[in-house]
Subunit: 322 residues, 2 copies
């Protein structure tokens, strides 16, 4: 048995906890509702309980625990700073200080998408010394940037907030207060909004049929199905979102000329249509410069990028040595 590490992915709806080894093999996973209305105390209590549950079931003790947090954190102190989708009482919660006494192992915090980037770097498409950008396209768009094998952190670990590139200066209002962020144009909700408009306008008959008139069933996945089934307008909206995503990818390529750009998160289940358009857009937008050697790929870890990132974070001692 190689060394065992613990990982927690704190989401708005669920807390996911897993133990894994240094080769990225997940040994045991448990999930419980977040119930963020119970406050930091309740949520941190459930986190600790998950870890203890897995300890009991596996008879293993993790060497360290890495936690992906949906917001900005203070890496050195292991505390939260600003969690946009959690109540304000989540500001400056000393997570490490609270969890270490009961868990009796080091606890490290990092933004969730930077954590997923670390997962992809360590166990996915990444390689030693690679320069890589990771986009996670889901309810929001997050990102992470790796330069020469090292995750870029910047102040409060905010480097790599790639979903907040301004793509349309006068575009839709973003949760961050800006207009026209990539997130407002290519996230899951942005795509679904376009789908809902088409269904309501009677312009997406196949999507309407797939959703059976239930607008909650208008999702990136059903939209991809409808596009494949012949809904031209739905396909156009997917291409439009992918084009904006491609401009975001072009931004990071222009800045760094990475070896690799990885697209992850739920929305990439759309698959080839998305990837093809992103590649074409990069070529179209900066093809005068050498972009042939830059690989643009879908995440190798899929839904596990975040939880495996927590394992990597624990292994790398919270990046505090970097």
């Amino acid at each position: 048995m190689s060394e065992v590490y613990g990982s927690i992915d704190l989401g708005g709806t669920y807390i996911k906890c897993a133990f894994g080894d240094a080769e990225g093999q997940l040994l045991h996973t448990e999930t419980t509702p977040t119930d963020s209305h119970t406050g930091p105390e309740g949520v941190l209590g459930r986190m600790a309980a998950l870890v203890r549950m897995i300890e009991a079931e596996t008879d293993l003790k993790p060497l360290a625990l890495g936690i992906g947090i949906p917001g900005l954190v203070n890496l050195r102190e292991g505390s939260t700073r600003f969690l946009p989708n959690f109540p304000t009482q989540w500001r400056d919660v000393p997570v490490r200080e609270i969890l270490v006494p009961s868990l009796e192992c080091p606890v490290y915090l990092l933004n969730d998408v930077r954590t997923a980037t670390l997962g992809e770097l360590t166990f996915g498409h990444g390689s030693d010394n690679c320069t890589m950008a990771f986009f996670s396209i889901g309810t929001g768009i997050g990102g992470g940037v790796v330069v020469d094998g090292k995750l870029r952190l910047g102040s409060l670990g905010a480097a790599g907030e790639l979903g907040h590139y301004t793509i349309l200066p006068d575009g839709p209002l973003c949760g961050c207060g800006n207009r026209g962020c990539l997130e407002t144009l290519a996230s899951g909700p942005a795509l679904c909004a376009a789908g809902v408009r088409l269904v309501r306008s009677g312009l997406a008959p196949i999507l309407h049929e797939i959703a059976g008139g239930d607008l909650t069933l208008v999702t990136p996945r059903t939209m991809a199905e409808a596009a494949a089934g012949g809904d031209k307008r739905v396909e156009e909206e997917i291409l439009r979102a992918a084009h904006f995503l491609g401009i975001g990818v072009a931004n990071v390529v222009t800045t760094l000329y990475p070896d690799l750009v990885v697209l992850g998160g739920g929305v990439v289940q759309i698959g080839d249509l998305l990837l093809k358009t992103v590649r074409e857009t990069v070529e179209e937008r900066i093809g005068m410069f050498p972009v042939d050697e830059i690989e643009i790929k879908l995440s190798r870890l899929g839904n596990n990028a975040g939880i495996l990132g927590g394992i990597a974070l624990a292994m790398k001692r919270g990046l505090l040595d970097d």
Copy 2:
């Protein structure tokens, strides 16, 4: 006398050559017309003649020569690849191979704005291990990116082409083939085009008076004068360009959270109006994330960034050890 290095800045109009020491003191500078119509042979001959002229006048021999090239180069081979504003015969010119035998010292090539970035890093606002972005705003907009004290190169040294961020996806056509590049919106020519339109439309009386009806005198500098003198529309155009530049700066901040962003090139002579708007735009576009600690400054080297960069390039052995 400390060690002496040589530097050449190859421009579309002039070739500038200087010797300098490892402290960034320029010892002697000479300039001659580029006359690019005489082809690589003629231009390289004039380059070598400038070096020999300074050798004769100073009785000094440079340890190495760094050359800033307005385009993409092959760093390892010391040859040109693609020079957008020079005739096509400038493709794949083996500059090092041609110059080394007659100059009898190592010769290193790098893109001109990456060279200026190296100058700012070594002799200007930069510091060891800093993370820095440099924008040069002139006839075009070039850039350079330094991560942890190291200039990012990427394939063919194309990393840092910050003037080719797509800012308006459907904006004006750029020389690179894309639409809405930062360069089309905030370069000297972009600004002057807006000034000329205002003068011709009778909307910029003060600028009209300053230029005395001569449209070639509509420059970023006279526009700044006219704005200060009360031409509101001219001021608005300057603010608009500065706003787009601010979005470009926000892009690089989002990606890397650098310590420092430096603005150089002729257009920054506009001064405070530009700098203030860039800062406000960064705050407005990504102020939800921590940007307080990021310094945004005008170049400390001014017009000498490029030539001092050549000295730094020679000192750093063409970055070939990186």
